[in-house]
């Protein structure tokens, strides 16, 4: 049984008097134990919405209109708030872009960590303290013991994010959901944090959903990849396969447009236009106004997600076996 199964997840927000607008328009995903999945998309593609919906954290006035989120056999969306608290922050941990979402500025690091731990475990203060110091050491925070008394504002951005990771690991979760965890950080700090997350996930067999806009980070850290566009998954599969042989024209365009993938000094490939807002989606495939391969078929109907790609005219129509063999 898969660790996490999301089926046809839809989230909508009210608009106007009676209308609703869908921010997430039917997303499926399956995550095995210890598997690392990257979710990539532009702002407004619905990738953060997906994370919040999985945790049943969609804030009013939005709501999950349809679908199921099954974690270890239990549907998170139908659970009571009490039941879900046994899972959220315990068996599933979260890391956000801004460490200060997680950290309380007026409490010391140690107090926050011990409180978090005691909320989920029956444990003495002394044991809790020891465990917290161990976790701080695990995320390579220098002089971990003395940092327990530090306040969040006394730490740099990189160290704060390390503390957040340490808190996320406190309860030995089976799944970590990280929403743009390094976007606000410098490149060298990003490399440190991402390699830390990667190592920790590997060593402890923790599954990871990494939400980011950066294909490079995904390529470094994840095994599976899901590319989102306008509230839908347009391509999913093994990270390596998609990066080497993308099928959806949007994925192809994104990869081709990266400076890394073009020769020095040459003109970059560019996708024309921009992603439509969810309040004003075109008919059929939402990508068709920007797509070189679009036909009348694409303008008329939304292509279903088949063989990992939601496109009537995908690129690289190589059979799956061949793909497996080459990598």
């Amino acid at each position: 049984m898969a660790l996490l199964e999301v089926r046809d997840l839809r989230v909508a927000f009210p608009r106007g008097k009676k209308g609703e607008v869908e921010a997430l328009r039917g997303v499926d995903l399956t995550l095995e134990k210890g598997q690392r999945l990257g979710v990539v998309g532009e702002s407004g593609a619905g990738k953060s919405m997906l994370a919040f919906a999985i945790l049943n954290l969609i804030a009013e006035p939005g709501r999950v209109t349809q679908g199921s989120v099954t974690f270890d056999g239990e549907n998170l969306l139908t659970m009571s708030e009490r039941q879900i608290r046994r899972i959220r922050g315990n068996r599933i941990s979260m890391i956000f872009q801004d460490p200060m979402v997680t950290l309380n500025p007026v409490l010391s690091i140690g107090t926050q960590m011990i409180e978090t731990l005691k909320a989920h475990r029956r444990i003495t203060d002394r044991e809790a303290h020891k465990l917290c110091v161990d976790k701080l050491k695990l995320v390579a925070i220098p002089s971990a013991e003395s940092r327990m008394d530090a306040y969040p504002h006394e730490l740099s951005g990189g160290l704060r994010q390390r503390v957040v990771i340490a808190i996320a690991l406190l309860t030995d979760p089976e799944l970590i959901i990280a929403d743009e965890p390094t976007t606000a950080l410098d490149v060298t700090i990003q490399a440190e944090i991402m390699s830390l997350i990667l190592t920790l996930c590997r060593e402890n067999n923790v599954a990871l959903i990494l939400i980011t806009h950066d294909l490079g980070v995904v390529a470094e850290v994840t095994e599976r990849l899901m590319i989102m566009y306008a509230g839908k998954c347009v391509e999913t599969g093994r990270t390596r396969d998609i990066i080497d042989r993308p099928k959806h024209p949007y994925a192809v365009g994104l990869l081709k447009a990266l400076p890394q993938n073009s020769t020095r000094g040459a003109k970059l490939y560019q996708i024309p236009g921009s992603m439509p807002p969810i309040t004003n989606l075109p008919s059929g495939c939402p990508y068709h106004p920007r797509c070189e391969r679009a036909t009348d078929e694409c303008r008329a109907a939304m292509p279903p997600l088949e063989h990992g790609v939601a496109c009537f005219h995908p690129m690289h129509e190589t059979p799956a076996e061949e793909t497996e063999a080459t990598t």
Binding site: P142, V187, Q190, A191, D214, L254, A257, L258, S274
Partner: protein
Amino acid sequence: MSDVTDPIVETRGLEMRFSLPTHFLSREKPVLHALSGVDVKIRKGETFCVVGESGCGKTTLGRAIMGLLTPSSGEVYFRGRRIDTMDEAERKPVRADMQMVFQNPYASLNPRRNVFQTLAEPIRHLMPEKSEADVRAQVEDVLDATGCDQSWQRKLPHEFSGGQRQRIAIARALVTNPAFVVADEPISALDVSIQAQILNLLNDLQDERDLTYMFITHDLSVVEHFGDRVAVMYLGQVMELAPTGNIFDDPKHPYTQLLLAAIPKLTGGSFDAPRTPGELPDPVNPSPGCPFAPRCAIAQDICRAERPRLRPIEDSGTMAACHFAENSRELIMDKENAGVSG
């Protein structure tokens, strides 16, 4: 025409110190060293990239050149004339030749002024001799050149997407036909699929209008594609200054090597080994030695005692501020191997 090697913009010993706010009774007067002795020469027609992490002084350098900040000491030259000490009347003609594109297209356009008002203002202020008809013609030209629609003129910024706003901001920078443009992280606030559009636009405009760019960014992969020469900055100093090819093929400074290693690669595999946390040293109390020494794998006693000067390395065309620039790569490699075997 001046000689190609003649710099269009030059800084000499540029220093920028900020007094930090303290309690008025406090004895300490902490001073932040945002730039300490920066010498750069930007050649006509090139794209000069300034790379570094937050707090390295790259934005401060751009702002000091543009006159948004007054240097604490040092000199700024434009086409051989010193501009940082000019008064406003003298500087006005220079301003039409130097323009800037900002990072955040959501903040760089005044939300209450329409596109025409935004674009006409620089012409009206800097070229008062232009008639209203000229102003209108110039605005229309620059909108065409930057791929903006003429119908945008009467619209307000909130009606546009981020990419469109950045086009308008570029149009504003080019409306006075400048020779030199500072672009401060012009694509980092944009979505991935829009970044390529803006980079290509900047590239095309450079060819059409014979522009010189100072391109400030934290993203080395953009530099590789876009830059002619690169200055890598760290804590207010230039660590390495070299043609783009050299930076990527043969980086001399350990910090440049660290930055390159930190780029997430599509091929993957470079984040597999855990890294030790590196933190920026305190810019308020700089050490007498190399600012990078506390993070450097190969730092020796001399690095902590004596600040290395930016010097030419062999005849490679690279300048680096490192005592061990000639063989830093071998030293780092040895160190890593020793770490693995030991």
